[in-house]
């Protein structure tokens, strides 16, 4: 097998390499965004625990962790309830539709009659003519033929409601879960440090500890 590349092969190789680098860079940025979002979500612990720490109702690591986890769980419930209601709504629509049509396994991805994809553009990636061989690898080399253009189907009405509801409700629930994970990590980190920091340097206690009398008595300043 010859390792010499033709002009066309070189071009494909460079395009492939650039695509490879781009994918990693984009993944890096997505990871960075998720990290920042989680940091912001975790800051909710400070708000939840501010009063009890400032009033010294909670004074030990264990008590802090227990109460913070309880509060975090309740916050998760509050945050995810809308997502759950959307999912329940989708389930009700599914039950009604299935009871009417007697079809208990509707295909949400059917592009001809009853699926949500009837209103989407679809391309045929199964067409063998669009693929080329590159160093023994089978890669896509041409734009695939159009399989479906968006059109409304009366029989797919349930899919038009169920599919978006499933996506929105699912993403809502996953975001609430992500926030819950972020808070749990923050709780464990805070519980180990919060009672070791002097009050005037403690972000949780700061603010309420700011005694206005100090400004009056401190005339030496």
């Amino acid at each position: 097998m010859s390792l010499l590349m033709g002009e066309n092969d070189k071009r494909i190789f460079i395009a492939f390499l650039m695509l490879f680098i781009l994918v990693f860079i984009i993944a890096g940025y997505i990871g960075l965004i998720i990290e920042r979002v989680m940091k912001r979500q975790a800051q909710r612990v400070e708000t939840l625990m501010h009063d009890v720490v400032a009033a010294k109702v909670v004074t030990t690591e264990r008590a802090f962790r227990r109460l913070a986890i309880k509060k975090s769980n309740r916050l998760f419930f509050k945050q995810s309830i809308i997502g759950f209601l959307i999912l329940i709504f989708a389930a009700i629509i599914y039950l009604i539709h299935s009871a009417i049509t007697k079809n208990w396994m509707p295909n949400l991805f059917d592009y001809k009659k009853e699926g949500f994809t009837t209103i989407l553009f679809l391309w045929n990636f199964d067409d063998p003519s669009i693929y080329v061989n590159f160093f023994g690898m089978r890669i896509i080399g041409a734009w695939p033929p159009l399989l479906n253009t968006p059109h409304w189907e009366a029989t797919a009405w349930a899919s038009y409601i169920i599919f978006p509801c499933l996506v929105v409700g699912g993403v809502w629930y996953l975001i609430a879960t992500q926030a819950h994970i972020a808070r749990t990590f923050r709780i464990h980190k805070l519980s180990k440090t919060i009672f070791n920091i002097p009050n005037n340097e403690n972000n949780i206690v700061k603010g309420t500890n700011d005694n206005s009398n100090n400004n009056i008595t401190n005339l030496n300043a």
């Binding site: 990693f24 860079i25 509050k78 996953l174 008595t217």
Partner: protein, 122 residues
């Protein structure tokens, strides 16, 4: 260039770890499903007991009490200190002989008496 390489490396790490992260997220989501049901039962229980759907934690009630008492005390102290001879001190009617004479670098400086000094004097 270093930032670019760092981003590239991070991207590689994220892609390699993504299956593990997804598994972790799915397991946590399942755990949260149980948590949701427990919280729902707890909230319903509280509701049918005649309390609010999300009843306050006893620790929060206690903290609120303590903080409100502290706030009231703080306001009272502030009012007392504003009505005290501090105002006359501010108007420079304090006793000069009572002032502290600090000698630093052979330069005498005057420091004004604090409220505590005034209180001690009385």
């Amino acid at each position: 260039m270093l930032g670019f390489l760092k981003q590239f490396g991070l991207g590689m790490v994220y892609i390699l770890c993504s299956p593990l992260v997804l598994v972790f997220l799915c397991l946590w989501a399942l755990y949260n499903l149980i948590l949701f049901v427990i919280e729902l039962i707890r909230a319903l229980k509280s509701f049918f007991k005649g309390q609010s759907f999300f009843a306050e934690f006893p620790e929060d009630i206690e903290a609120k009490k303590i903080l409100s008492i502290e706030a009231i005390n703080g306001m009272q102290n502030q009012a007392i200190s504003l009505g005290s001879p501090t105002i006359t001190i501010e108007n420079a009617s304090f006793n000069i002989p009572q002032t502290n004479l600090n000698v630093n670098d052979n330069r005498p400086t005057l420091s004004r008496p604090t409220l505590d000094d005034e209180a001690n004097k009385k």
